[in-house]
Chain length 243, copies 2
C-alpha cells in the first residue's frame, strides 16, 4: 500500500508514570497492530515486568525497544510537537480537540518531523505541569456517565486514528516549515524566566501564573525554528543590556 | 448534548465463544465509556468470573446485565441487522468495509431498529457459519506486519466509532423502512433449504455451496420485512403445489 518511510515512525508514544505493567504491554500491542513502534516510558512503576510481556503478545519487540526516562523533558527531546490526552474538555484556556482532528494535525507534522503523544497515569492523568509542555490537548469523547477509559484503550483509539489519518493522507506537496525542537523551547522558557526575574518583571516569591500563561501563548503558535532563534536572540540582547 | 433515546441502546454487542474472562470485563468497560450497554455472550468459556469483574472496573453493571446464550441464533433474535468483525479483507465474496463506514451504516439502522455486532473467539475469530449470518463484514485496518488485535481492543475501536457516528449523525427525517428480523430470516433459510431438497434442486448428500451462496445474496440485499413475507409466501405456494 504505502511504502515510503512512514510518518508513523516519526511518532513517539510517551506513557508517563504508568502504574500497571499490564497496561504498558497492552499499549505495545495496540501500537504495533496500527503500525506504530516507538514507545517511551517516563518513570514506569514496574518495568520490565512479566505482566507487560504477557499482554504484549507478539509485540514484545516494542517493549524491548522502549526507552525509559526519568523526566518527561528527556522523553520529549528531539520532538517539535507534543500532544497530551486529557479527560477534560478545556484545560488552562486551551480548547481540547477530539482524537480524529488531533490525528490529522499530528500526521501533517509527522510527515517530516518528530512528534510525541503523551498519556498520563491511570489514576490522575497528566499533571498541569506536564500538560503545559503540550501544544495540543486531546480529549476522547467518552460518555458523560462513565469517562473512565483504560490507558491502553486510549492508546488503541489514538493509534487507530493515527493509522486512519495516515491511510487517508495525501502525499505532502510543499516543503514543510521546520519547527523548533521542544527541548530548545524549554531552554527558551528557562532563559526567559531568568530574564524576567532579572528585570524584576517576575517575582520568584510571588510568580502568580505568569510562566504558565507565557507557555500557553507559545504553545498555541507552535514555534518555528527560526522564530525561536529570533526569540533567543532577543533574550540575549536583553541580558547584555540590563545592568 | 443528545437527550433523545439513543440509537446506541439499539446496538447489542455479541461476544462469541470468548476464552478469557478478562477480555469480557475489558469489553464491558470499553462499551460503557462510549455509552453502549448491551452485552450478549455466546458460550463464554468462563463467566461470571472474578477477572471479568476486575477488568470491568465501574462497568460491572454491564456484566451483570449481560445475557448469556447457548447459540448465536438466540443472541441475534429480535435484531434486523448483524455485522461481524473479521481480520480478512474479503470473505466468501463479501467485501469488508472499514470500521468507520460500518459505524455509519449501523447507526442509520439503529436509529429505529435493533442491530448486533459480532466479535469472535480470541484465537480463531468468527467461523464461516457465524459470518454467514452477517449482512456486513467489518475489518479494522491493522498493520499488515502485525494484525493481532486484542478482542477487547477491537470492541473499544468499534464502540468509539459508533459513538463518533452517533455524535455526527443528523436527526432522521424520513420514516425508516422496517427490516426483517434475523430470526425470521433464519426460518426462511430453513424453509427454503427444505423446499430446495424437496424439489430435488439441492442434494443433501452433496450440497456444494448452494446455501452459503443464497445467504450471501440475501445478506447483501438486507431484506425488508415485507419482502421476507413475500418470499415466505412464495415458499408456501411452492410447497402446496409440488407432489
Amino acid at each position: 500500500m504505502k511504502n515510503a518511510p512512514s510518518p508513523l515512525s516519526n511518532i513517539r508514544i510517551v506513557l508517563d508514570h504508568t502504574s500497571h505493567p499490564g497496561n504498558i504491554g497492552a499499549a505495545a500491542r495496540a501500537l504495533k497492530t496500527m503500525g506504530l513502534q516507538r514507545l517511551h516510558l517516563v518513570e514506569p512503576r514496574r518495568f520490565p515486568h512479566a505482566e507487560a510481556d504477557a499482554l504484549a503478545c507478539d509485540a514484545k519487540d516494542v517493549l524491548q525497544n522502549a526507552q525509559v526516562h526519568t523526566t518527561l523533558d528527556e522523553a520529549l527531546t528531539g520532538c517539535v510537537f507534543a500532544a497530551g490526552l486529557t479527560a477534560r474538555k478545556r484545560h488552562m484556556g486551551h480548547t481540547c480537540v477530539d482524537v480524529r482532528e488531533a490525528a490529522q494535525r499530528l500526521m501533517q507534522i509527522a510527515a517530516t518531523q518528530e512528534v510525541a503523544l503523551l498519556f498520563g497515569n491511570e489514576a490522575y492523568g497528566l499533571s498541569n505541569d506536564e500538560l503545559s509542555k503540550c501544544q495540543l490537548m486531546i480529549s476522547i469523547p467518552t460518555d458523560e456517565a462513565y469517562t473512565s477509559l483504560n490507558v491502553a484503550s486510549a492508546v488503541q483509539i489514538m493509534a487507530y486514528e493515527l493509522r486512519m489519518a495516515w491511510l487517508a493522507a495525501p502525499q505532502p506537496t510543499q516543503a514543510p516549515i521546520e519547527l523548533a525542537r521542544l527541548d530548545d523551547i524549554e531552554l527558551f522558557y528557562k532563559r526567559l524566566e531568568e530574564t524576567l526575574i532579572r528585570i524584576q518583571f517576575l517575582d520568584p516569591n510571588n510568580p502568580k501564573r505568569l510562566m504558565p500563561r507565557v507557555r500557553r501563548l507559545f504553545a498555541r503558535t507552535v514555534l518555528e525554528k527560526e522564530e525561536l532563534n529570533i526569540l533567543m536572540g532577543m533574550l540575549k540582547s536583553i541580558n547584555l543590556n540590563v545592568k
